[in-house]
Symmetry: C2
Subunit: 219 residues, 2 copies
């Protein structure tokens, strides 16, 4: 890095692209926007914001999430950085992709106050077929989808897609959607046993046996 005065050279722009995932009606959904300008006008795209000089990448991501959803304090993590030269045909933009996970109730709660026109799109539908997606965002979404399926197997990431209190059938649906396959409830409960704590609460009002509510064990 020595012998190189960076200020003399042309620099790329740096942006953060956001993948806000949630689960609704047993389907994985992603927050998308419809582009209203060229290039890729009219096509679905990931929401994104440019990195400002006075904020870290994580702060940029937080700001972007707040702008799109009105929410703060939700779970997010850096995904990958995409740096192909012409990924944006206008100019060189390096994009640091961030993935956020929100329980759908939180998202619904803030939907009315949303600043920009963002909508939830079914991820499997979006990726199926050859539907066009702006920029290299298809690749980004495919990578995130893959990472999500992977991480659910060896981390507790699924808990970010349910609320503070949840039933085991509800949590099981999250796992099933992310893994793309059905699980046996008996085995699922055994596997989760060490990660959760019973509460005294039960669901009610539905035409079948109520379900106990659990919380995540802190440990």
């Amino acid at each position: 890095m020595e012998q190189y005065d960076a200020s003399k050279y042309e620099k790329p722009s740096v942006a953060v692209d956001l993948l806000v995932f949630t689960i609704e009606d047993r389907r994985l959904k992603l927050l998308m926007i419809e582009r209203e300008e060229e290039p890729f006008c009219g096509m679905p795209a990931l929401p994104g914001v440019f990195v400002r000089m006075d904020e870290t990448l994580d702060e940029t991501a937080e700001r972007g999430i707040a702008e799109e959803t009105g929410l703060s304090g939700i779970y997010f993590e850096q995904l990958y950085t995409f740096g192909d030269i012409h990924r944006d045909p206008r100019m060189r933009i390096i994009s640091v992709a961030y993935m956020a996970l929100v329980p759908v109730e939180k998202l619904a709660y803030k939907a009315g106050e949303r600043v920009r026109t963002a909508y939830l799109e079914d991820v499997e539908d979006l990726l199926a077929g050859d539907k066009e997606i702006a920029f290299d965002h298809r690749k980004i979404i495919e990578y995130a989808r893959w990472r999500l399926a992977n991480k659910v197997e060896y981390t507790d990431i699924a808990f970010h897609l349910v609320g503070k209190l949840f039933t085991l059938p509800e949590l099981q649906i999250v796992y099933e959607v992310l893994l793309g396959k059905e699980l046996y409830k008996a085995n699922f409960r055994k596997k989760m046993a060490d990660l959760i704590e019973e509460t005294e609460y039960m669901t009610s009002g539905e035409a079948h046996r109520p379900s106990r509510l659990y919380r995540r064990k802190e440990s």
Copy 2:
């Protein structure tokens, strides 16, 4: 991203920092350089290069690896992007960290022709104590160390740290060093059985039973 003309604003510089790992004498080693300028003059640092406008991030990483080691075609992957505001006290530099893995024989072979003064440092020694490391490179190295230990458990990443032909005891050492614990050879061999193929070759010349050479199964 609309309504924002990036060209009007000040932009950060983007660099690629490199973590070239190898295993030597049953220890994990990392290619480091000694800084010869302020800031952090005299301190160990990761080699790094700035991203040029006409190359992707992967190409930047390849170029950097070639500059430091003279090698091309070795395994590398993007690690994480570090974007703290003052991680470089001179100016805003966003760093995309890349991790490369090389069998030590390859590195030794090219050591004579090295362009810059880089040297191998024992990673555990480097991270132990409070030895100072330039920039936020300690954090980057710790993250890479953690990721390596993690990935060895659920990927085939360890194979990149041995040559095309290797003995099972040799491969086991790689696993043991990355995991930081000893393994039982009988169990290790069973676990590897599906991933490797016997060759007709054996080691020779050492004062004990020769060892069969294997290669990675393509499958």
